[in-house]
Symmetry: C4
Subunit: 296 residues, 4 copies
């Protein structure tokens, strides 16, 4: 328990903005906020920026070494004395460990610089290429959530449903869905708070999530939706937060996806169009073109 | 929540084909479907393809640089002017950071190309070798499931059983098995759906899964199998989906295996042959030759 | 089960020191205790030490090879015979795989040394840069716990509360908090023991932990705090151990944080200042300047 | 579900040997059984073997390329024609990407070989160094289990206890212990089986496992030990399998440890010696010298 742990977040005031009926935290999750977590910064920035930064760093570092070689005229054989570019290209040949040898260190001073540069180069290359690979291999989920959730009768119980589809052609092992209802509440002491409630699901896990999964929450007397009207839900800024986690079959790593439904995206007395059909020869097929379709 | 998340899967119609009594999703899990996930693609393709792609990329990249060196005649010392192969071999010596130095950059143009090539080479080599190592070290389970499941009396309760064996000579830590019954159902509203039911097991986890494990589901009045006939099971396209997950003792990484049993692979009133025997000197041994054997 | 597993810890007597009312284990978690776990040692030491060790190792290894090259006079072309620095710089050029070629191995003895050095260099560089990258990419949580916990009425039930804020601008997926009360107890046999009790929480997980989370434990008749006085708590050296675990959204790796509250850091009949405000235009904002503030 | 998954383990008969009262599976967990899992093999073999294999592979590969260079006399400049060692050393300089340049490829044939060798070298080096680093950074637990388990009264209930200590100077996050009793049983149908029972523990998880943890299982009427005698336990080959899992605080990776207690290692009516003491100044300390000590 160091003092550091008690320090406040960097930007102590954060706005929560309403956009299209959604509450959004301003500036959250933008990669350029990570400046104090360089690894996160380098992982989340766009590829173009990342490659630009790596290239700039490479040029900058070689320029610094070039200037250092120039400090002692004649330190590099076959380099034009005082010529920055020759020193720069010699530095590149050294840091990248090419070492053609036409230009080569003539003096002890140059040799010491080469020793330092080789060491800096090895660590720097490891960092740059390590981050590049971490970016490339970062586990991600590619799932699609239906545009809306619907409430319709299922086995005579009004049931909240939404659909999830796996866009990859592999399985998500041990897929688990958690649905949390978030709404404004006032407690007995008159304090305002945003409260969270877990919604019980008919199935919260799916061992065979390859194609499509209809997630269902029965609205019985234990559900926080029981007896609620659309006006209630909107007044309390109600939203559903859906979290999907699982293990990617191919890379055996944890993946996750998240989606929110706000009150106006839950359609009462609607149901989803079928996506599972049967051909005349009895063969089944799934037509994702109807994935987002709902009907009264 | 970006728009991208709402886009449909790439190929919106997917066939589910019946093969030997099994429902299979056509084309699922074929490596060449991953073209929009290049990392997954490169991880799952066969080694021969992977090595071929790496080699082709290496040749292509070096050819491009060779052509660039040729644009300025005389840019490379000791290379025959206008000779593609000399430029190509010089490019190889540069990208692989060998740098014999007999051929070497003569002009600023060539030196700038060398700087760019070294940078491209370092990133490219990191990607290629990183993926090669990720392929080689990918955690996999090597377990074998018995060819059929049987239903036999155990402690006077009819019990569904199947066997799993670990083919590796190490332990699977925290091995967990989940068995889900999948069958067609029609709800009260007349909608057809594929429903999943968890089957309760006598033991769902095994801290010492080294050799063989007999997984048992008692068919009591809470079991979805209770009172079902083989005809019922087949009509409803019933299948058991078995998922095994655990931690590989050696590499401390998550591993998983999956198996399905269809109705015709569940043998009623059969039992497994013993695989644990005792020698005359009291020493025990396991004979896997009887692993798949059943008897009435 | 080898004998090794039964060996005692290295330093069999460990002091537990009282500092500012906290019990601290002396010397725990200091990086220089890891000398028998070299990987842990290299991961946890300060960067300055790590870079120093890598540099020293690099210099030492090259010096050893330099001495070996010197054993045979004339083994390196263009090196002054018997000159340590020339041999040293040749070794650097070899280990870093630069190979300018002006100095080069003349004899079979030197060539064998080069073969060995290249092999040692490749493994050594992989170790050094691998650890450097592991240090850089180590997943860490950046969360801040409120300076004190308070006990105040919530929905008319006395409730223990503390706050946690995520200092990063990303989400912690599947954030989970566990609060354990630790206190001295004597059992019926008169034996003294430090016992642990889980405190039930209103919510122990939070799927949307971006900003701030108020963790609440209701002090009802099942709570170990029920009826306890401050004097009781202090006499029993009571402390709360809070553990937060979750998955970092950005790097998909497990992160964790820990905090302890001792008896004097739990304020009875106080409550936290609000941090969620509303502007005149209805827009909400969070002001972390009041994060640690309590009021009676 | 491919055919491969149904194939039997490689060595279908495995002996279970009694050693000092323990049942041991012969040959399990020996690294040389992994020949069909090369990654596991290379991870688990002793360092001396690993380094030997890497060195041999390096020499073999370079010898093959040396022979290929020799096929065309004069392919390498400044190499004695037909001299294996010159070709070998040239190959080393090429594969390790040193490239002094004194020896260099003279012909297109040699240049093509160099291109192939650079590509083989880059992949090979990545494999070798990747495995070396994976070996070095493999997460391991360093915990010690007490030599015996004891059964003594705790709060007037007979309780099975054993101790665990963390030998590292860091914490194990979310440490969890699972204790399973394994014994021979015969079912109602007369079939012999080895059955597993989870033992309920007073605490199965420990958020602050830094030093020592006494794990306790109360032997009440729900315990499989209830009313059992030592003779019963031994006749049924009873053993306790203890599994500890957790997250290493330093490297944020899963670690695990396992221990078994056989019937003769459970001491009835004994208790552990204290290890927590208090100095005259009230300061506490832990003396691990008494860690394994029991007293009647």
């Amino acid at each position: 328990m160091t003092k550091a742990k008690r320090r406040l977040p960097r930007k102590p005031i954060i706005s929560i903005v309403r956009q299209n009926g959604r509450l959004n935290v301003q500036g959250i999750n933008k990669w350029y906020y990570y400046w104090r977590d360089p690894y996160h910064l380098l992982i989340t920035m766009p590829w173009s920026w990342f490659l630009g930064i790596v290239a700039s760093g490479y040029i900058l570092l070689n320029s610094l070494f070039a200037l250092a070689y120039l400090l002692q005229p004649g330190s590099i054989a076959n380099a034009r004395p005082g010529n920055f570019w020759d020193a720069f290209f010699f530095s590149i040949q050294t840091m990248a460990t090419i070492g053609y040898g036409v230009m080569n260190p003539q003096t002890d001073y140059a040799n010491v610089l080469v020793a330092i540069e080789s060491w800096v180069g090895l660590l720097g290359v490891a960092m740059g290429t390590g981050i590049a690979f971490a970016r490339f291999s970062r586990p991600t989920a590619r799932v699609v959530f239906s545009r809306v959730a619907v409430v319709t009768a299922y086995d005579e119980i009004p049931t909240l449903m939404f659909r999830v589809a796996n866009k990859r052609r592999n399985q998500i092992i041990e897929a688990q869905i958690r649905v949390v209802l978030v709404r404004d509440e006032m407690n007995a002491e008159g304090q305002f708070m945003r409260r969270l409630y877990d919604l019980p699901l008919v199935r919260a896990n799916n061992p065979i999530f390859i194609l499509s999964w209809t997630v269902m929450h029965p609205i019985d007397e234990y559900s926080p939706f029981y007896g609620a009207t659309l006006a209630d839900l909107e007044a309390a800024e109600t939203m559903l937060v859906v979290t999907l986690t699982g293990i990617d079959e191919t890379v055996s790593q944890m993946i996750h996806a998240r989606h929110t439904y706000i009150a106006s995206e839950m359609l009462w007395h609607h149901r989803f169009a079928d996506i599972l059909f049967q051909k005349s020869d009895g063969q089944r097929y799934i037509d994702y073109n109807h994935f987002h379709e709902v009907m009264p």
